[in-house]
Symmetry: D3
Subunit: 109 residues, 6 copies
């Protein structure tokens, strides 16, 4: 799988960089404030959807589902991005959600 390949290559070649990045992400996630796990991942889905990053969105959707978010909550999250980010960016994100729900084991990073 492509996301893993690229990440694995980074981890193999630059373990200290990936480690430092992971710690930064973790610090923000766990020590940045009081939001619960589900809300955290929905916010990250909104972020990657708004910015148009397909692979980050896949990772964030997977994590959100693992944290107990429902497909309907993911869909609501993506729809909420539309007025601010514009319709096309939302539609691209929505397509990725639909593909992910159709074949999670194939696409799951």
């Amino acid at each position: 799988m492509k996301i893993r390949d690229n990440l694995d290559a980074l981890i193999e070649k630059h373990p200290e960089i990936y480690e430092a990045y992971s710690r930064f992400g973790k610090a923000v996630h766990e020590q940045g404030g009081p939001l619960d796990e589900r809300t955290r991942w929905l916010i990250k889905v909104a972020t990657s959807a708004a910015l148009g990053y397909p692979k980050a969105q896949l990772t964030h959707m997977t994590k959100a589902l693992e944290a107990g978010c429902t497909p309907e909550e993911l869909e609501h999250t993506i729809l909420l991005v539309a007025p601010t980010a514009g319709f096309p960016r939302m539609m691209e994100a929505m397509e990725r959600l639909r593909e992910h729900l159709r074949s999670p084991e194939e696409i799951r990073p």
Copy 2:
């Protein structure tokens, strides 16, 4: 206040456009899925923060606070944007949060 001025001018000159936009925003917000009011506004704060829209972020933060979100939850939301959007974009959004909390009545749109 600048945000209101610009919005008022639009509403006055193009009421049907603003009306249609509001309905779209409302449809997405209320009929887009099951997320509660607080989470909806946090997601919108994340969106405007990630995209770097100062005035939209002010509106979203005001609405989030009115919906019962705490300043700490807004801060957590903005911090969560950093790994995906990059540090400078998060810092710009954080500065707007801090200024908003310092003088809500002045800046509040």
Copy 3:
């Protein structure tokens, strides 16, 4: 066809959201001012080209051609984006125009 699939899924699942969005787009298009139909679509082609949204650009190009714009006018529109948006963004949009003109019935959304 992918654009239609994604749009159809939205329309089926969230008819009221798509309806509200369509009204907003229509209000802006028809009541936003005096520009004629052809100019409106060229402006939308410029917008989706400048922002790098492939599917929106396909829709806008199709509508522009239906409104009577020539391929040369679409090309001119896209070229005009280059100095402001940078060369790569223009070239991506130009490639989509070329592919669209080669096989309109296949790609046409």
Copy 4:
């Protein structure tokens, strides 16, 4: 005036770069296709509005008005950007139009 200052400094220090850039802009503008002068500038207004470049938008609006476009046409152009680029980006551009029309001689680059 700031736009001129910055441009003058570039022209003074790197005349050959500005000259080359101007030729590129001119080639795109005049030899890129059949669009008339007014439409060309509206397309450039749409581009700088969609991308959020305040100074480029000022230049493009000034040129559009000089080419005979009306304020209503500029307004329509900017409104048409909204569904694709999102509401906040359009509103920022609309505010710049309004300020420009209020005090053209002050802001005019």
Copy 5:
């Protein structure tokens, strides 16, 4: 090859536009200041990586390698983009570097 196809089509149809663009790029490159050839191309790799332009990045990487930059220098350049542009944008650029190094003759524009 796609990059060449698209570029060739532009050159064939609008030689004067491509010529003007090339001169602009050359003026910036050769007369813009004292940086040596290798550094110039690394800066262009950073630019296309930060902005997420796959084809421009391929061109810039090819030129950087031709100018004597090592794969390790390209990798360092792309990694340096991460804190400012965010992790996903860097990872996309890194994947393009890896693919380019694996099969340069296939992908090389």
Copy 6:
């Protein structure tokens, strides 16, 4: 000074997040590859210039000058961004360079 204020507030309130971010930046900078200190900072200037982050660009320019880069090298770096990112983005970055060189002690973060 605004940059410091905002950064100081983050450091005071979330020392562990800033610490983790700094380590990530340092890992990328020092362990990401063989580029020398001067080239690293020029690449970061190109990145913040291309993405339009004023405060990050100030930090990167300050560090680049401290590392021994000349104003002419910074200017060349920013000019090189223009063909890929578009003229307006480069001009905004150039204005920040000029202001920084005029009054380094005032603006220096």
